[in-house]
Amino acid sequence: MGAAGIVLRDVHKAYFKDRLEIPVLAGLNLEIAPGEFAALMGPSGSGKSTLLHLVGGLDTPTRGSVRVGESQLESMSESALTAWRSRHVGFIFQMYHLVPVLTAAQNVELPLLLFRMASSERKRRVQTALSIVGLGDRTDHRPNQLSGGQEQRVAIARAIVTDPDVLLADEPTGDLDARTSEEILNLLNALNTEFGKTIVMVTHDPRAAGHAGRTLHLDKGVLDREEVNARKTAAASAS
């Protein structure tokens, strides 16, 4: 599947608590090109996760348009969004969210249950995804027998096994030490450069953001500035 671009136009998102409107996003505009790796930074509570959820079709904007690839998400029903997610996005969470009673391979296989596919084909895809993330040999371990870094690799394998256009990662290294974070970021980088996945990664860590091609800064409901990572751009044009 080819990479998809992301276009947000005048996106508003507000939550209601006790009839009180809490505006989170206020007229946000954003364009991410197909195959881009973007980092999203901003203070806590600025709406980074909210934005990621909108792009991933987990939530819908109060106003404005969200387009991912060919799909106009704001006009889709809940069940259409659910089906869309299974084909077009892969989520990576800070706390991995693996199913504890299933092995690494079974966790990765899970999203493939949503596809009509021969069991042998499923197994082959699971094996491929696990070897891409560098876990070809720990496939029978349960999450509690894996380290945090390994759990996140399993989660990434689960996100890519359906070959989605877009990967959405919410603080994927937030719970990992520096060295493991570096490994995970390199892995995301490889998925971006070698497999052409469009990636949006939320992070609090500027060094993590440095792995992305562009860093977007979210504040007070809008993107107030962005910076292009020179090192990354140089590396990309050199390859």
Partner: protein, 393 residues
């Protein structure tokens, strides 16, 4: 989908103690249900067998514990001198009975020796038995389960003390253990022997020739219906009016007088079922809350709300289904293959748990699972994915 099955089964084993308690909570009412249905069904079969015997039971109208004058027998017989409709009239005097060294009460009754084999054909099977019965005024037919319990055999001499005044001691010769009798408990002796003992003990003459009931063997359904009414009419406005019923109604009244078994057992089963639903629902709710993050993750991956609901519901039904199997197998094994099966239940020879009641009980267990799983399933369907995800961070 073997991965789905794996997920379901592993989820069941996730909190083994909780699952085990739920299985037990479901198994218990299933056991009660299986036993009560079986007992009630066997009682009904016993009553139906009695009904097929075409006998009327004549008791005192005031109360079944009031005795009737033995003279009623001749007057009833005189209603049909040709014996076309009324084949035999049998006087029955209940003497109960206890053994010298045993407190267990017995059910012993004196009956008209000549008519008994005609009216109660299921008790004396062989020519030999019938001859022994007629010849020996101390003959005793012992119910087969009573015989088994007491270790009595044909040819034994047993002494029984009556449970009612004048508490005479009777000395009997066991001549049959009635292997085919519908009633496996009751013992039968000669009525004349009972009257003799009463007279000998010095009871006033008016208290000697009394019977507890009269049984009237009829030739067919029509005769049964006709004399059910006519006998009572015959004694209308006399000091000893009668109440005549068919044997099924008569016995049923006896059983329910002691303890309304069907109603009580049903009530008990209903209460435990309600408890099981609560226990299972509680388990499923706790499991659901424990796994809310997983439910949200599955949704993020693209699984539908309906799938989440299905997962909860299936787990609940599976868990309760296991409880149902345990609840069915426990009594089947206990009563079929262990000494528990020898336990005595009045009027029931041996509990035989049929396949029908097992199916009903299993269905019930699955219904408990469905009800218990419904709430978490609805919750799962309504789950707001982003809120659930956020609650985990």
């Amino acid at each position: 989908m073997d991965l789905l099955l794996t997920l379901l089964l592993r989820n069941l084993g996730r909190n083994p103690r909780r699952s085990a308690l739920t299985v037990a909570a479901v198994a218990m009412p299933v056991v009660i249900l299986v036993l009560s249905f079986t007992i009630v069904a066997q009682l009904n079969r016993f009553l139906d067998d009695s009904a097929a015997q075409l006998r009327l039971a004549v008791a005192h109208k005031t109360s079944i514990i009031n005795p009737l004058p033995y003279g009623h027998k001749a007057r009833i017989a005189a209603l049909d001198p040709q014996k076309r409709d009324i084949i035999a009239v049998v006087g029955i005097a209940w003497i109960g009975g206890v053994l010298a060294n045993d407190r267990e009460p017995l059910t012993t009754m004196g009956v008209d020796a000549d008519e008994f084999p005609i009216a109660f054909t299921d008790h004396l099977l062989t020519q030999q038995e019938r001859e022994a019965w007629q010849r020996d005024r101390r003959a005793l037919i012992v119910g087969r389960s009573t015989a088994a319990k007491m270790g009595w055999k044909v040819g034994d001499r047993v002494t029984i003390r009556a449970s009612i005044p004048p508490y005479s001691e009777f000395s009997f010769n066991v001549i049959s253990t009635a292997p085919k009798a519908i009633d496996p408990v009751a013992n039968w002796c000669h009525l004349s022997y009972v009257f003799e003992e009463r007279a000998r003990s010095g009871l006033p003459e008016s208290s000697v020739d009394l019977v507890s009931f009269l049984f009237v063997k009829c030739s067919g359904r029509a005769a049964l219906e006709r004399y059910r009414v006519e006998i009572d009419r015959l004694f209308e406005n006399t000091p000893d009016e009668t109440q005549t019923q068919d044997e099924k109604a008569f016995l049923n009244q006896f059983i329910s007088q002691q303890f309304d078994l069907p109603t009580n057992l049903t009530l008990l089963a209903l209460i435990t079922i309600a408890v099981a639903v609560l226990a299972a629902a509680n388990t499923m709710n706790m499991s659901f809350r424990d796994r809310i993050g997983e439910a949200a993750t599955l949704r993020a991956l693209g699984f539908s709300a309906r799938f989440g609901a299905w997962l909860s519901l299936t787990e609940s039904v599976l868990l309760c289904g296991i409880g149902g199997c345990v609840g069915v197998l426990a009594p089947v094994i206990a009563f079929g293959y262990t000494p528990i099966g020898d336990v005595q239940i009045p009027l029931i020879v041996r509990l035989e748990i049929g396949p029908g009641v097992c199916v009903v009980a299993l269905t019930l267990a699955l219904a408990i699972g469905t009800i218990a799983g419904a709430w978490p399933a609805i919750q799962g369907g309504r789950l707001r994915v982003i809120d659930a995800l956020r609650s985990l961070e």
